[in-house]
Amino acid sequence: MDDMNLAAALHPEGLAVPRAVELPATMEAFLAQVQRRAFRVAEMGLGNADDALDAVQDAMLRLHQHYRQHPAQEWSPLFWGILRRRITDLQRRRKVRSIVVGWLGTAGEDGEDGPVWEPADALADPARAIAGRAAYADLSRAVRALPRRQREAFMLRVLEGLDVAATAQAMGCSDGSVKTHLSRAMEALRHKLEDWR
């Protein structure tokens, strides 16, 4: 992506730039504001609505327990950082369980479906009933196929619209790393979503 500043490039459309969102007065208002997008991000990362709900609830709980006293402008990167770690934990746990089940050789032997924690191919919700539901499913699949750090950078920076500094804080890395991960993610997605042209 050369030295392109994606945010600047997208500015006229008002996308991928930090949203001029009013700071929430209370933590309840903040959580109410962010819960839907948090669910979608978790769902995209985990491919499962129940796991996504667990991850979001846990992130809300931890934010409230540990960071309630922090200034409101810090809540957003803190929350997304907690959610990111929770998603990673669940993905790792799922991977271990998948390996164990693979060793035991119980899956698929008697014609049953695979393990229940396998990412669902389809995201069953009314969002898919709208015109772009197939495109959203394609996007979800493509994003899930990205390496973890690239996926996180894309979701936080492009989908959620955090600025570089907030994304770096949520990912626990430098601004430069965010730009690198995002650049690679965009490159990969451009190839995967050729049909979008």
Partner: protein, 136 residues
């Protein structure tokens, strides 16, 4: 306002493509976030209420650190102060203990009733008492 750096680019230019892709992905994500089914929304609301209803975990560090420092200081003071006091008082205790240990049972009894025997010693002897009666 920053200029549109992609407006003049060819439609297939990588920068333009990526900008379009990001814009579309962002729009799709926003739309999907708006259209969440009622059951999931209810569960999200319940999760939020549960999270907010959970008592905040208290940070005990500001309490534990001074308490620990105080305890350590008290212990240090006791260690320093104790040897200074001990030489004066210890022999007296040890001496009494040694005397009692070497005495027989009647002497131990005496030692334990010193007040009584003190009073007894101050009383006049029987002979003196009889003499005093005859003089009268």
């Amino acid at each position: 306002m920053k200029p549109d750096t992609t407006a003049d680019l060819d439609k297939n230019h990588p920068r333009r493509t990526e900008a379009d892709l990001a814009a579309r992905a962002h729009a799709l994500f926003g739309s999907a976030s708006e259209h969440i089914d009622g059951d999931t929304l209810r569960r999200l609301r319940a999760a939020r209420v549960t999270a907010l209803g959970t008592p905040r975990r208290r940070n005990l560090l500001p309490v534990l650190v001074p308490a620990g420092a105080l305890a350590a200081a008290a212990l240090a003071l006791a260690v320093v102060w104790h040897p200074l006091r001990a030489p004066g008082s210890a022999p007296a205790v040890a001496g009494t203990g040694a005397l009692l240990a070497s005495a027989n049972s009647s002497e131990v009894d005496m030692a334990q009733n010193l007040d009584f025997y003190g009073w007894l010693a101050s009383q006049p002897q029987p002979a003196q008492a009889a003499q005093a009666t005859s003089v009268q």
